[in-house]
Subunit: 120 residues, 2 copies
């Protein structure tokens, strides 16, 4: 059974932040939905590029040598190995594309780490 996903409806199903939910699988990649607000932790993914597409709100990705400011309908791809810090002044709804192997906090493991992702 092939079913479509409505992003707005899916985001309405959860309220917790910084906890990516799996919304689809494309080959070795997960499509994840996440609500972000405030500041995350500096981290990098040694072996995986990561894509952030803003569905609602605004998201800043701080880099060691600058930052990328994303509005709705904008995406950025953070290459493997690049340290980054997602920050959202107000709640942002973000679609992530990343390999199934990715851990949200990358090379850092702390209280923000979510190892077992729920599906939405």
């Amino acid at each position: 059974m092939i079913e479509k996903v409505n992003l707005r409806e899916k985001f309405a199903l959860f309220a917790d932040r910084w906890s990516p939910k799996i919304a689809g699988e494309v080959n070795d990649t997960y499509v994840k939905l996440v609500k972000l607000a405030g500041e995350f932790v500096w981290h990098k993914h040694e072996a995986e590029d990561e894509m952030f597409l803003v569905v609602k709100g605004r998201l800043t990705i701080k880099l060691r040598d600058g930052e990328v400011n994303l509005d709705e309908g904008e995406f950025v791809i953070i290459p493997r190995g690049v340290e980054h810090l997602p920050v959202a002044d107000e709640e942002a709804h973000v679609l992530l594309f990343e390999p199934k192997s990715v851990l949200n906090t990358g090379d850092v493991v702390n209280e923000r780490t979510v190892a077992d992702l729920e599906r939405v």
Copy 2:
């Protein structure tokens, strides 16, 4: 240099239809933008899942046993091996997420096949 992509701006840069443009690379996957109108050709991708996210307009993906109707902000993942036929009554702007190995017409090669993709 890490640069963001604004979907609306990118779609404004080209007018040709059924000719996916590469807008980003995430690991072994391309993010492609394509304008669709009318009917494509029935095809399948033997080894690759394919994701369609509608950015503007409406898109129907016909399947041999049904169809999926996508509005803006909706996506569907067509699993490998599943025959499908994209149809858009009016022009639709679609983000595709698929392995770099994917040929647009899958197992069919004809005048709709685009082997060398441009970047946008």
